[in-house]
């Protein structure tokens, strides 16, 4: 049991070299859904926010940056990604998202595979993304394994929290992984939970069935914190009826901390989601019946769920999730645009910004740690040259854990090299 507790205890890595900064004269966004504060100040000390608001005095001896009235916000928390575990999706050797022939599933821990040198990290950092929820991909089981929360800082320690959640596929993908049907996926789930409980009761005597096992010893062990509610279970599900079936599972397993990912038809069961306190990390703009699980898909999904009282963040689900979390800003802006469309339901600006900062953090139980500029949170702060949801806006500065970040990318170097396409006195290869 001791070992178990150690494994499941929250592991929050401390920043390597925390710093302090005060940013003043800001159009300050806290990220919790409240309205921007004109002339606001945020103070970060030793890597954490100590104060943010209007009447905040700058302590002596702290480096001060005058934002000149520009927008200052918490960094974007990418709601669902595969950032840092894939360099080029189509080049298998660089893709650690899933393991087709591995005997292990739930036990897979993505954290050690996160490579801070992955090129999507500097690129998304330069666009104001400071943290990401990183999930493994399922292969051969409904369980994909244990995901992590990472920071996008330019350093060697990307992990904010390892084993932050278990990720599971349900719906069409889960059915496929379980052998071909939803009932098969549900029994796979129930069986796994039963085995995890067996393991928890007496790990030393857990029957190791070797290759015949439906669940390896390691998988059973990994599911224990899911069963007892210490680890959120993120489930990709799109169909309204499937969401109700999963909520039903909580009757038998009340400790389960369900979080739905995707949830394209969530608006059709929004009241049930709210009543069951199931947060959602949704695809913001999915509006096509891409499958029979998404016949009801509409861009109003997020707005309607939020209006019904569901906690909703935005993610990139099967949507270039290895590299394009930066688009969440655009997605959030589009939800604001819906507020002007008769018959549609969108989000106001404040809620839209929260959907890409505090909401995904809260959905996985890290709202006290990241996603807003409330006191005590990580010092992840972005200064923008305009409205952060607007398409033409660029990032002026990024701080992660209070440390000012470099913003240059490989793309910048390519652009500079080819500003004039013709070769000069020497080949292009000498221009850098």
């Amino acid at each position: 049991m001791k070992r178990l507790l150690l494994l499941s205890a929250a592991f929050l890595a401390a920043p390597a070299a925390a710093q302090s900064v005060a940013i003043t004269n800001a159009r300050l966004v806290i990220g919790d859904g409240s309205a921007p504060i004109e002339g606001g100040t945020v103070i970060v000390r030793d890597g954490r926010v100590v104060a943010a608001g209007k009447a905040v005095a700058v302590p002596a001896g702290i480096a001060t940056v005058d934002a000149g009235g520009r927008w200052v916000t918490p960094g974007i928390v990418a709601g669902f990604t595969r950032m840092g575990i894939v360099e080029v999706d189509g080049v298998d050797e660089t893709n650690d998202a899933g393991a087709r022939t591995s005997p292990f599933h739930a036990a897979i821990d993505i954290a050690p595979a996160v490579n801070p040198a992955t090129s999507s990290i500097p690129l998304n950092r330069a666009e104001g993304v400071t943290r990401a929820i990183v999930a493994p991909d399922n292969a051969g089981s409904i369980f994909a394994g244990q995901g992590a929360v990472i920071d996008l800082g330019a350093d060697r320690s990307p992990i904010t929290k390892a084993r932050a959640f278990q990720f599971m596929e349900y719906g069409e993908g889960g059915a496929r992984a379980a052998g071909g049907s939803r009932p098969a996926a549900l029994i796979a789930f129930r069986n796994a939970i039963a085995q995890a409980r067996d393991y928890a009761r007496d790990p030393a005597h857990y029957a190791d069935q070797g290759k015949d096992a439906l669940l390896t010893r390691a998988d059973a062990e990994a599911l224990v914190p899911v069963v007892n509610g210490r680890m959120p279970l993120l489930v990709h599900v799109e169909r309204a009826a499937d969401m109700l079936a999963l909520i039903e599972l909580k009757r038998d397993f009340p400790a389960l901390k369900l979080v739905f990912v995707g949830a394209g038809e969530g608006w059709m069961v929004a009241r049930e989601l709210a009543a069951a306190h199931v947060p959602v990390i949704a695809s913001a703009l999915a509006d096509l019946p891409e499958s029979f699980d998404q016949l009801g898909a509409t861009q109003s999904n997020v707005g309607r769920m939020k209006a019904a009282g569901v906690l909703v963040g935005i993610g990139t689900i099967n949507d270039d999730e290895a590299r394009q979390a930066r688009r969440e800003k655009q997605y959030a802006g589009n939800l604001v645009a819906l507020t002007k469309l008769p018959g549609a339901t969108g989000l106001d600006w404040n809620a839209a910004f929260a959907a890409i900062t505090s909401a995904p953090a809260e959905a996985i139980g890290l709202g006290d740690e990241i996603g807003s500029l409330k006191a005590g949170r990580r010092g992840d702060v972005v200064i923008w040259d305009g409205d952060p949801l607007e398409l033409g806006t660029a990032v002026a500065a990024v701080y992660i854990d209070g440390i000012k970040q470099p913003l240059r990318t490989r793309q910048d170097a390519l652009r500079e090299r080819y500003m004039v396409p013709q070769e000069g006195a020497l080949p292009k290869a000498y221009e850098r």
């Binding site: 949507d319 270039d320 589009n334």
Partner: protein, 479 residues
């Protein structure tokens, strides 16, 4: 859902120019059209076979004379009028200017705070041949059974009930699109250009008088698909070898038909694939070439010279910025995304300034989607590309950037004389946006195609619902 032949796993992961001087780079003027004997009348001329066996049956829907006033206008050819007016009637643009008198009986719309543009043209779409729902039974975009399938025509796959057409219309303001075969093959077949108007048949959507395209592909896809089957091509050099051999056969086929048309005699045998390739060699069919890498585009342009054809546009040309000068010199356009990058090896060097650098260096550039979601926000994609350029010090006006959405794709499709800009006499394919279309907070408010109002955000009845969605959850909902 990008780049329609990625491995299944990856598919799941992805789910997608003032100006006359600058436009001189564009393909539509046919400057590179090779000389052909078939134009000379002879005993065999016109006796061979019809070139239009599946003709368009599209008829514009009725409209009313409409005048939009006090509106910001991007005319699609780089022009801008603030607080201006546009009149269209009988399906055509009639007049635009600072102020235009309303004819009797015209509907007058106050466009204060809004923007009026030509309808968006997507040169690269798979709506209809990879429709929603994306089930195998509907998957009709790649005839991946041989590297050369110039015999297939995308129009024979297009399902006119794809719900995606409605999203492209109401959320994207897309009025014209080219549906292409996929990129598994070196020569994937003929494309078709359609108007974004639901019809019972594909022919009912078909753009009257638009030339056909031939979809070609370079790079990773053909060599992976056929290499994995243990056959040629399995390398990039294999790609070009198979292409060249095929063009050599096409030239021979064309010679036989040209001779027959000129001299009569024994009618040559028909080959459906060769019909298409001969059509390319005679300039009747435009080459639309999927190609990411700069070095490969350069080779393809030389291959085109070797066999006497012209590449109208490179699609997915993520490295076009590296050879903007060569593209300009060859009069070949580049159709690109704003920010897609890194999902496959040949997309690794994509940069956000691609469009802006092409424009700056005088090449013909345009946005495209290749994606049922991306097609709903092409205006936003251009906004991102424009902003990337401006942040890099490349100053391009909003009105010029609108060419990337309408006039340049119209040129590369050979339909710029009919649509793509708000010039009197052209089709009244028009979008009224409820703000600045380069803002994330703006949506289409009204969309007209050939002067017929086919979408109105304020009228739930002017919102198309495809047969597939009828009676399903959310039918008729805002999408």
């Amino acid at each position: 859902m990008a780049d329609r032949i990625l491995p299944a796993r990856l598919r799941a992961l992805l789910g997608a120019a003032a100006i006359t001087a600058l436009l001189a780079g564009c393909a539509s003027d046919g400057g590179a059209k090779p000389a052909t004997a078939s134009s000379k009348a002879g005993p065999g001329a016109g006796k061979g076979f019809t070139h239009d066996p599946y003709p368009s049956t599209y008829k514009p829907y009725p409209g009313v004379p409409t005048l939009v006033t006090h509106v910001t206008i991007f005319d699609g050819e780089g022009g801008r009028i603030d607080n201006g007016a546009v009149l269209f009637a009988d399906g055509k643009i009639v007049e635009l200017g600072q102020s235009v008198a309303a004819p009797a009986g015209a509907t007058v719309i106050d466009g204060t705070g809004k923007t009026l543009t030509p309808g968006i043209i997507d040169i690269h779409s798979h709506l209809g041949d990879y429709p929603s729902p994306g089930v195998q039974a509907n998957s009709d975009g790649n005839e991946a059974t041989g590297p050369i399938t110039a015999d297939v025509w995308a129009e024979h796959s297009v399902w006119p009930q794809d719900p995606g057409f409605s999203r492209a219309l109401v959320n994207g303001g897309v009025t014209t699109l080219q549906i292409l075969p996929g990129s598994a093959n070196l020569m994937g077949g003929r494309s078709v250009v359609i108007k974004n108007v639901y019809a019972r048949t594909e022919q009912g959507m078909k753009f009257p008088g638009a030339p056909y395209g031939l979809k070609m592909a370079c790079g990773e896809n053909p060599k992976r698909v056929y290499g994995s089957k243990g056959r040629e091509p399995s390398t990039r050099m294999g790609n070009i070898a198979v292409d060249r051999q095929t063009w050599a056969r096409a030239a021979e086929y064309k010679r036989k038909w040209d001779k027959y048309e000129k001299d009569g005699g024994e009618i040559p045998g028909r080959d459906i694939a060769m019909d298409t390739l001969a059509g390319v060699l005679s300039g009747e069919i435009l080459v639309q070439n999927h190609c990411y890498r700069a070095d490969e585009m350069a080779i393809v342009m030389d291959m085109a010279k070797e066999f006497g054809y012209h590449v109208s546009a490179f699609h997915h040309a993520v490295e076009a910025y590296k050879i903007a000068d060569l593209l300009k010199e060859n009069g070949t356009c580049a159709a690109v995304w704003a920010d897609w990058w890194g999902f496959k090896m040949e997309s690794y060097d994509a940069i956000g300034e691609n469009l802006a650098l092409l424009q700056k260096n005088g090449a013909c550039a345009m946005i495209h989607s290749d994606d049922a979601n991306g097609i709903q926000r092409l205006n936003q994609e251009v906004a991102k590309a424009l902003a990337a350029g401006r942040h890099a010090g490349i100053d391009i006006s909003d009105a010029v950037a609108w060419e990337w959405l309408t006039y340049n794709p119209a040129k590369a499709l050979g339909i710029a004389d009919k649509t793509g800009s708000l010039k009197p006499g052209k089709m009244a394919d028009v979008v009224l946006w409820n703000g600045n279309p380069f803002s994330v907070y703006t949506r289409p408010e009204k969309v007209w195609i050939d002067g017929a109002l086919l979408y109105d955000a304020n009228d739930p009845k002017r919102r198309p619902v495809s047969d597939f969605e009828l009676g399903q959850p959310g039918a008729g909902d805002t999408k």
